[in-house]
């Protein structure tokens, strides 16, 4: 099965990159190819539509706020199952695309144990065993897999409620809500981590590329895999280079000050990197 899935994904990726392209500049690495990006944003759009239409029905306080976005209560109720179904179908392809890199490893278990240090930003660099995805990303992915399944099962039970017993609909209603709340919690963290929390990450899902600095900071093991170089060594090298440049800038500024005091007009160019 896995080989046919791989073949399918390979074909899809090749087909997608025929229509779209990813430009990798100097000092950057390819992180997400076109196919992955298209899938991610399709899933994202359908998720947001499902979330907003679902939350209009979820809470009486949000009903009057959210249902007008879709054309009123009845239309919201009509559209929500279709948004959800489309989300599940698209996510299925994303699952095929990602379940191999999302496989849980010992490194991820270690990552979850030091999640406190990660969240408090105490450690500037990720441990060297963090690969293409870290433990948190994998947790979110598998939470979506489980929630997506729960959404599908309970959603169908509520959609075709005349064919199932009353109590099953009542149970589905709660399970559907819990799955949605779990997904929402993950979604808030996901959006935050992908934008404001880690500068340079959003670019990986828009342009498909990340800087090498980003890669050795957040996913060192992946950096080692794609570049064949040691992430820590490269980091140290960059640090030394930066220090040298800072010192050069400082001495240039002092010289410039001295020249100004003496009334001389010297070279105004600062030292190059």
């Amino acid at each position: 099965m896995s080989t046919s899935v791989e073949r399918f994904d390979e074909d899809a990726r090749r087909e997608a990159s025929r229509h779209g392209r990813t430009v990798v500049h100097r000092g950057e690495l390819l992180r997400h190819p076109v196919y992955t990006r298209v899938l991610h944003w399709s899933v994202a759009i359908l998720f947001v539509l499902s979330l907003l239409s679902g939350f209009g029905i979820y809470s009486a306080w949000l009903f009057r706020w959210l249902t007008p976005l879709f054309g009123g209560g009845p239309v919201t109720r009509f559209l929500h199952p279709w948004f959800g179904l489309a989300f599940d179908i698209l996510f299925f392809f994303q699952f095929l695309n990602w379940f191999v890199p999302m496989t849980w490893t010992k490194a991820d278990s270690r990552w979850t144990r030091r999640v406190k240090e990660y969240a408090s930003n105490k450690e500037k660099l990720e441990p060297e065993d963090v690969g293409f995805f870290n433990g948190g990303q994998k947790l979110y992915f598998w939470a979506i897999v489980i929630s997506g399944l729960l959404f599908l099962v309970t959603g169908l039970l509520m959609w075709f409620d005349d064919a199932v017993p009353r109590w099953l609909v009542a149970v589905s209603y709660v399970v559907h809500d819990i799955a949605a709340l779990v997904m929402l919690a993950g979604f808030i963290i996901h959006v935050y981590e992908g934008t404001a929390a880690q500068p340079g990450t959003f670019q990986s899902m828009t342009d498909g590329t990340v800087s090498e600095e980003w890669a050795w900071t957040h996913h060192p093991a992946w950096y080692r895999d794609v570049t064949g170089r040691d992430p820590r060594e490269d980091f140290e090298h960059a640090r030394r280079r930066q220090g040298a440049r800072a010192r050069a800038l400082e001495s240039w500024e002092l010289e410039q000050d001295a020249r100004e005091r003496a009334g001389e007009i010297g070279p105004a160019e600062p030292p190059e990197r």
């Binding site: 979820y58 209560g73 930003n121 509520m158 009353r166 209603y173 709660v174 500068p199 980091f235 640090r239």
Partner: protein, 308 residues
């Protein structure tokens, strides 16, 4: 000029003597009382219901009983359920007029997510407002009596209104009007309960139905449709009348406690990430340049002041 059914007179100009009707307390809660022991299963109530609500006569289902169809339908609010029952070795025919019970604590209303789709009037009538109904069908699973029915064509849910349009005008419901045996009664809840209790006593003492009693289930706060049954200990025999009707906890505890809690958590989550960003700060790709200004703003200020 005025509607004396709804407007009570407080003062009258130049009127000698007491004011008519002054001081009377209106019992607002209405009730339909069904005496199943005197029902003959003529179905006049079914026909009157369909006629008053202007529904077309729909196809019936024959299943070797006298029952018109298995359950009530979206355009057939009122159905007499026929049950063959054995009591003390004798055959008995149990006929029960099935319709919305107009619960004091309505499961349909608890379950409904649409603003204004289900209302409960002061007089106890639970009414669906189809223009606000979004057709989700939660009320169907919220109802302990399996009463609300979905109309696939309009995607709206319908049920018995207790003829709220008639009761509002001071008329009795259509089914009451049509009943030829007088097994259906309509009045205030207090009056109907008194009448029903009297009848139940009569059945116990005179007719030999030792377990006869009134069906007014308190598990949902009582209903605005009450029955007198030959055997109140076994309501299930009357076409599946639940002895202990319950609203699923997902529409009570979950909806009124856990749901708002979940919503609050979601908002807290959004606040949490915003405050994480402005306190813990972002995680830049390393190495990031050395900060120019020290972390504490007062130190930076002090240094700036030292410079001439």
């Amino acid at each position: 000029m005025s509607d004396e059914r709804t407007l009570q007179i407080q003062q009258i100009s130049a009127h000698p003597g007491p004011i008519p009707g002054r001081g009377t307390q209106r019992a607002v809660e209405v009730c339909k009382y069904i005496d199943v022991t005197t029902c003959i299963g003529c179905k006049a109530c079914e026909v009157a219901c369909v006629e008053w609500n202007d529904h077309p006569f729909r196809e019936t289902t024959f299943d070797n009983t006298y029952q018109t169809m298995p359950t009530t339908e979206w355009n057939y609010y009122n159905l007499i359920k026929f049950a063959e029952h054995e009591r003390d070795g004798n055959f008995m025919w149990l006929m029960r007029k099935d319709q919305c019970m107009h619960c004091a604590d309505p499961g349909c209303l608890r379950a409904c997510p649409a603003d204004g789709a289900i209302v409960q009037y002061e007089n106890g009538i639970v009414d669906f407002q189809q223009e606000n109904c979004i057709g989700c069908g939660y009320c169907i699973s919220g109802c302990p009596f399996d009463i609300p029915k979905f109309n696939p064509a309009t995607k709206k849910v319908f049920k018995c209104t207790l003829c709220s349009d008639r009761v509002g005008e001071g008329l009795e419901p259509a089914c009451i009007k049509a009943c030829p045996t007088g097994c259906l009664h309509f009045g205030t809840k207090d009056d109907m309960l008194a009448l029903a209790n009297t009848r139940a006593q009569q059945l116990v003492q005179i007719s030999g139905f030792k377990n006869a009693g009134v069906y007014d289930p308190q598990s949902i706060g009582g209903t605005h449709v009450i029955y007198v049954l030959h055997d109140a200990t076994q309501p299930e025999t009357y076409g599946g009348l639940p002895s202990n009707p319950q609203i699923p906890p997902s529409y009570t505890v979950w909806k009124w406690l856990a749901k708002p809690a979940g919503l609050a958590m979601a908002f807290l989550g959004i606040f949490a990430v915003i405050f994480h960003r402005i306190t813990a700060g972002p995680k830049w790709p390393q190495p990031e340049p050395e900060p120019v200004v020290t972390e504490r703003p007062d130190e930076a200020d002090a240094k700036r002041k030292e410079k001439p």
